[in-house]
């Protein structure tokens, strides 16, 4: 059994074995093994030329990763928390994201790190900042929910020739585990997955939302309601076909994410469903997301803030009764 965290570490390690151009760069990733220990042991395995500790400087880390990537190396840069990517924002959204379009220049760089709440990290260590980048053409945005997908997607991300932002969910690191197949496999970027077949309503989600939905689905089963769950896995490019197919099948849809509501992925999904599957809907599109506030610190406040299985269940019952 491998945890989500171990799966990511395995995937990175395999790619480093496979391709000597892959190297790791980030704050406290070498000697210390990273704040969440994703890169623990990498220094011993691959040496200090390929596991590079940096000062605290996200603009410098991302900029240096871009420079190395333009020269054909494959840097995997860690943000200690994905919240901190704001300090390197210019390098990500202006420089890296637009190299292909401007110059047909490949930037085979991965920026990865922990995001999400549920660990009482407070306002600067719990955010889900994927929507900042979902809006930026030229980037790929990946957010796995399971160890299998995390490993397969980190490997695909490292092999990809364009910049990939890889959002790990820190509350899943040690909480979810599963058996992984032996040997090399990848999960394609840009492909969603129906993780649970159903016929009465669809939940479209990703990351931690997948686990909330799975929990709610079991409770609904006992009430005789069948929930389909689509795990987006990649947010950009968005797998619209899989989403629309599920909506056309069940005619009721919940868009679920842990990120805050306004300007989140759910809004874009709702628009596309309205544009392309309107006549299939039997009820209003429902969004479940965190409210439009910073992520609060105190456990009681954070619990109130975060979506969870109970909130999904309540909305699902309402939707089915509509």
């Amino acid at each position: 059994m491998a945890t989500y965290l171990e799966a990511i570490r395995e995937g990175i390690g395999e790619e480093m074995e496979r391709d000597p151009g892959v190297f790791l760069i980030g704050e406290d990733i070498a000697v210390y093994g990273g704040a969440f220990k994703i890169t623990a042991g990498m220094l011993d395995r691959f040496g200090e030329r390929r596991v590079v500790d940096t000062p605290l400087c996200e603009s410098g880390i991302v900029g240096a990763a871009i420079g190395a990537a333009l020269m054909g190396l494959r840097p995997v840069a860690e943000m200690q928390f994905m919240d901190f990517i704001s300090c390197g924002f210019d390098q990500v959204v202006n420089f890296a994201a637009k190299c292909r379009y401007r110059w047909n220049a490949p930037v085979p760089m991965v920026i990865r790190g922990p995001s999400g709440g549920g660990t009482h990290g407070g306002p600067f260590h719990s955010q889900n900042p994927e929507a900042w980048f979902f809006h930026t053409p030229g980037l790929k945005v990946v957010a796995p929910a399971t160890p299998y997908d995390a490993k397969g997607l980190i490997k695909s991300s490292i092999r990809d020739n364009d910049p990939v932002l890889f959002f790990e969910h820190k509350a899943l690191y040690r909480r979810v585990k599963e058996d992984l197949p032996a040997g090399d496999y990848t999960v394609p970027i840009g492909k969603a997955k129906v993780v649970r077949e159903g016929k009465d309503l669809s939940v479209i989600t990703y990351g931690s939302g997948v686990h909330m939905a799975l929990e709610a689905a079991e409770a609904l089963d006992r009430e005789g309601v069948s929930m389909e769950i689509v795990d987006l896995r990649t947010l950009l490019p968005l797998d619209e076909d899989t989403v629309l197919a599920s909506v056309r099948k069940t005619s009721r849809v919940i868009l679920l994410h842990e990120d805050t509501l306004t300007g989140g992925i759910g809004g874009e999904l709702a628009a596309r469903i309205a544009e392309k599957a309107f006549e299939f809907l039997d009820a209003p599109v429902v969004r479940i997301a965190a409210p439009d506030t910073p992520v609060p610190f105190s456990p009681v406040l954070e619990e109130a803030f975060l979506p969870n299985a109970r909130k999904v269940l309540e909305k699902a019952r309402w939707l089915c009764a509509y």
């Binding site: 000062p55 410098g60 420079g67 190396l73």
Partner: protein, 335 residues
Amino acid sequence: MATPTTQPGLFLEAYRRMLLLRRFELKAQELYRRGEMPGFIHLYVGEEAVAVGVCLHLSREDYVTSTHRGHGHALAKGISAREVMAELFGKATGCSGGRGGSMHLYAPDVGFLGTNGLVGAGIPVAAGAGLAAQLRRSGQVAVAFFGDGAANHGAFHEGLNLAGVWNLPVVFVCENNLYATQTPLRMATKNQDISSRAAAYGMPGAAVDGNDVEAVSAAAAEALARARSGGGPSLLECRTYRFLGHHEGDPGTGYRSREEVEAWKKRCPIALERARLIERAEAAETALQDIEREVEEMIAGAVEFALASPLPDAAEALRHVFPEAAGSAEAVWAR
């Protein structure tokens, strides 16, 4: 070892390149003023000795990151005047296919990692190119050009600090033209000796007359030799001046006195070097005139090429976000 500055004919070549940069920019200005060129451009007139003095000592395999005022760097590093001019016109034949423009010139085949409309952003990228060279032990060096304005940006600190602590083969070249757009350096920082900041990063710093191509050349040769031999990064401040406004359309006065502008124009780097070449009998008047004619012909050819080139098909706007012909652009990595 003979320093590169003693190579015969080096400064004749410097003169040729500076003249190319100057004539290119003045022609671009003329075309822009006629309303034939879209967007906006920042001209390098007056600062030619910096790009040329440094790039004299770079090979095609070395890397350069540049600025919003980067036509001169692009030409000095070896992108053809035709491709640069065509890009300024937004033509399909431009070095970025018309999708970038003046501030997005790029040519990996000559080691040019881009002009850059974001002040300071090229500095950490040059550190990354230096890091790649170091990791691969390739012997390449990287140069970041940037202005005095960028020296007050966070990216400057992060990029120099990384290069310092990792002993990267990078030379940071500050083109101190005394004004960040219209704000004078004295109002932007208390310590106006930018080269002295090198000490903060544990690297050598030097300040030179940026209008003297021989002085820039000597200082750059020293810093680049240090980088190539494992001696780590350097900060080179070249004190210079732009003869024109910040962008074409800015008269360049108001925030700068006419007397100040005129005084700097008397220190034209190209005129200075021409006089030296004659005085030292390194070039005959006729040889210089031949160069001048050759440059004029090259610029005329570039303009003709740019004007005759097709505009991009409008459908191109929706392409190129992700690769279409896999392997084509990636081939540059084989270098």
